[in-house]
């Protein structure tokens, strides 16, 4: 079963449509910044900007983690579970075993990549929908982590961890630059490498890709492996930020992981990703969260706003798609517009 919106919008959006989406998103973000700054001057204080840059870094990488799987037309519900597994593994390796920080971090990233690979492998081999496999594996990974760690927080990590988390480059946290660096690497992957092209081709039209010699199964497995590694990176960023490895990390990642790429114009149907869009999508989410916090609306209403914004964004996207379809009706056959799971 494909989770296509409609077969027409599977086509890669035109360059112009993509730019208009990004510009629209940027305008919305600027409007919110103006709004929050005028309502609550504390919003642009250096303290708040620093806090914002730290959570933005995590939101961006969580978004990337879902984005690379959306590229194949699949989804990964296990991002939070993989993230927390990597977090707890890093905590165990640093605090209990006493491994040096870079080694522990590298092993934790490897674990994340391995769990992602496992997802991809089972999805490809069983031919079962990625939704179900990752729903089950999310529970499996989280349960396994809780059994092994007994839900104990590792809070005696080397002091360098928290120190790096507090470090400032100007107003911003170095973590944000790590996230942007990952974004640059992903742009290179999807724009300039054969592998990135294969992943997108596998998502756009698996059968056509298979027939033209693209190893679709391999592309899906690699995308999931990458997703696992990115989820682990997001988890490790939180370890730096919190200065501790907590078993509660990752449990609220599901919504933001889809918000950032979907707001940014990445297609759920696969075949098209927007790295810059995902960064802007994450920026919008972080801006809202931080702004509402500064205005003391509190966390309670935040969920409602995020939900409504996601609805608004997908609808705008949908109507843009309908408009594009109408314009191209003359050239394309509109017969298949109603996908089976629309």
């Amino acid at each position: 079963m494909t989770l296509s919106v409609s077969s027409q919008s599977r086509a890669r959006p035109s360059w112009l449509a993509e730019q208009s989406n990004l510009i629209g998103l940027a305008v919305i973000i600027v409007l919110f910044w103006v709004l929050f700054t005028s309502l609550a001057p504390g919003f642009v204080s250096s303290f708040n900007l620093f806090a914002l840059s730290r959570s933005l870094a995590v939101d961006i990488v969580i978004g990337f983690s879902t984005m690379v799987v959306l590229a194949t037309g699949g989804m990964n519900l296990a991002i939070g579970s993989i993230g927390v597994c990597a977090v707890m593994a890093s905590g165990y390796l640093m605090q209990t075993i006493g491994l040096p920080i870079p080694v522990a971090m590298a092993l934790a990233l490897l674990l994340g990549a391995f769990l992602g690979w496992l997802n991809g492998f089972v999805i490809v081999r069983s031919g079962v929908n990625s939704f179900i496999i990752t729903l089950a594996s999310a529970s499996l990974f989280l349960g396994g982590m809780l059994i092994l760690s007994k839900a104990q927080t590792f809070n005696a990590l080397p002091p360098e961890i928290a120190a790096f988390g507090r470090m400032r480059w100007g107003f911003l946290s170095p973590l944000l630059f790590v996230a942007l660096g990952l974004g640059a690497a992903l742009i290179v992957l999807f724009r300039f490498t054969a592998l990135g092209r294969e992943i997108l081709a596998a998502g756009a039209n698996p059968r056509a890709a298979e027939l033209s010699g693209v190893p679709v199964g391999r592309a899906i497995i690699i995308a999931h492996t990458l997703s696992g590694a990115l989820a682990a990176s997001a988890g490790l960023m939180l370890v730096f930020r919190l200065g501790a490895a907590m078993p509660s990390i990752g449990q609220d990642w599901l919504l933001p992981s889809f918000l950032a790429p979907v707001l940014g114009g990445t297609l759920l149907a696969g075949g098209f990703v927007s790295v810059v869009g995902t960064i802007l999508g994450a920026l919008l989410v972080t801006t809202l969260r931080s702004g509402l916090l500064v205005m003391q609306v509190g966390n309670f209403w935040l969920q409602l706003f995020l939900g409504l914004i996601l609805l608004f964004a997908v609808m705008v996207d949908r109507y843009r798609g309908v408009y594009a379809e109408r314009r191209s009706l003359g050239r394309k056959n509109p017969r298949q517009t109603s996908g089976r799971s629309a």
Partner: protein
């Protein structure tokens, strides 16, 4: 095709077989291992936890029937729970009024999901992910995470009362299960629902109003999520804003273990109910064996994977026969 199958193959091809065997094995093992298992009180405890999970599973099953999914079952449940609690505690509504209003809120939430999905043509996953966040936001915005504790005594008594091992709470789920089975097997809208799930295009060509049926499935799903929430409030004796946060996995686990296909058109009320029985037995066994509660989470994931694998195997066998 059936004639060529051996007895074993035919057994494997039966939806319920694996579940029934697993349940029997579970019952025998637990009864022989723990004397506490077959006591009246333990059976009451198991039946009581069966109630809410069963209706949550049905809520998801109906959207799966049309090839959709509803990620907002838990969020909608939480909203209905606090709405019902609030109406009874703050506004002093009589129990039946509050319950009906709660069901109406659930159905309205489902209707919103259905209309948004059908009208926009956007994937139901994203729509219900968004509405789930919105419902949770309203819930938390209203309650600020503070539960309603002072519920009418009669309502709470219904949640704890029992006749020997049978909790009163079991009555609504049994009625709902029977009604659903009848609805899906014998009524026109029920058949249409399965037809749309089985092959939307064919259903549409044979004159079934596809969009209306999908909206109906979502509305019923919301209604059932509301019913599950009201039972959960009665069971807990208080309206917790956190009701529903752990429903998502369970809601998919039971129908899928019961053999439902994500592609739609293929669901079974009885098999879903058996799957819930199995889940409840496993949970109860874990408690009796004093195993780490985290194992439940792990095993539930493993169980879904096993069920999916078994279904694949069955499909391959059936295809090959």
């Amino acid at each position: 095709m059936t004639n060529n199958m051996t007895l074993g193959q035919r057994f494997l091809a039966n939806e319920w077989s694996a579940l029934a065997v697993a349940i029997l094995v579970g019952l025998v093992v637990l009864a022989s291992m723990s004397p506490a298992f077959l006591t009246e009180f333990n059976l009451y405890v198991m039946l009581r936890s069966f109630c809410v999970v069963l209706i949550v599973a049905f809520a998801q099953m109906l959207t799966l029937a049309v090839g959709h999914m509803n990620l907002s079952v838990g969020a909608l449940g939480g909203l209905v729970a606090i709405a019902v609690g609030g109406m009874m505690e703050k506004w002093g509504f009589p129990v039946p009024v509050a319950v009906l209003a709660g069901l109406a809120i659930g159905a309205a939430g489902g209707l919103i999901n259905g209309l948004l999905t059908v009208r926009t043509g956007i994937n139901g996953f994203i729509i219900t992910l968004a509405t789930a966040s919105a419902f949770t936001g309203i819930n938390l915005g209203i309650t600020e995470s503070i539960p309603f504790y002072n519920l009418p005594a009669g309502f709470v008594a219904f949640g704890t009362g029992r006749l020997y091992a049978l909790p009163y709470l079991l009555l609504p789920p049994v009625l709902i299960a029977l009604a659903l089975a009848f609805f899906l097997a014998r009524t026109v809208p029920g058949r249409q629902l399965l037809a749309v799930g089985g092959n939307p295009h064919a259903a549409e060509l044979s004159g079934i109003p596809r969009d209306r049926v999908i909206v109906m499935a979502h509305t019923l799903s919301g209604l059932l999520a509301g019913a599950a929430a009201i039972l959960a409030v009665a069971q807990l004796g208080s309206a917790q804003p956190s009701i529903g946060v752990d429903w998502l996995l369970m809601s998919f686990a039971a129908p899928i273990i019961g053999g439902a296909a994500l592609t739609g058109g293929h669901i079974s009320v009885a098999a879903t109910a058996l799957a819930v029985v199995l889940i409840v037995i496993i949970q109860n066994g874990m408690v009796l064996a004093k195993v780490d509660p985290y194992w439940v989470q792990f095993l539930l994931g493993a169980l879904i994977l096993a069920a999916v694998g078994l279904n694949r195997l069955r499909a391959v066998r059936a295809g090959g026969a």
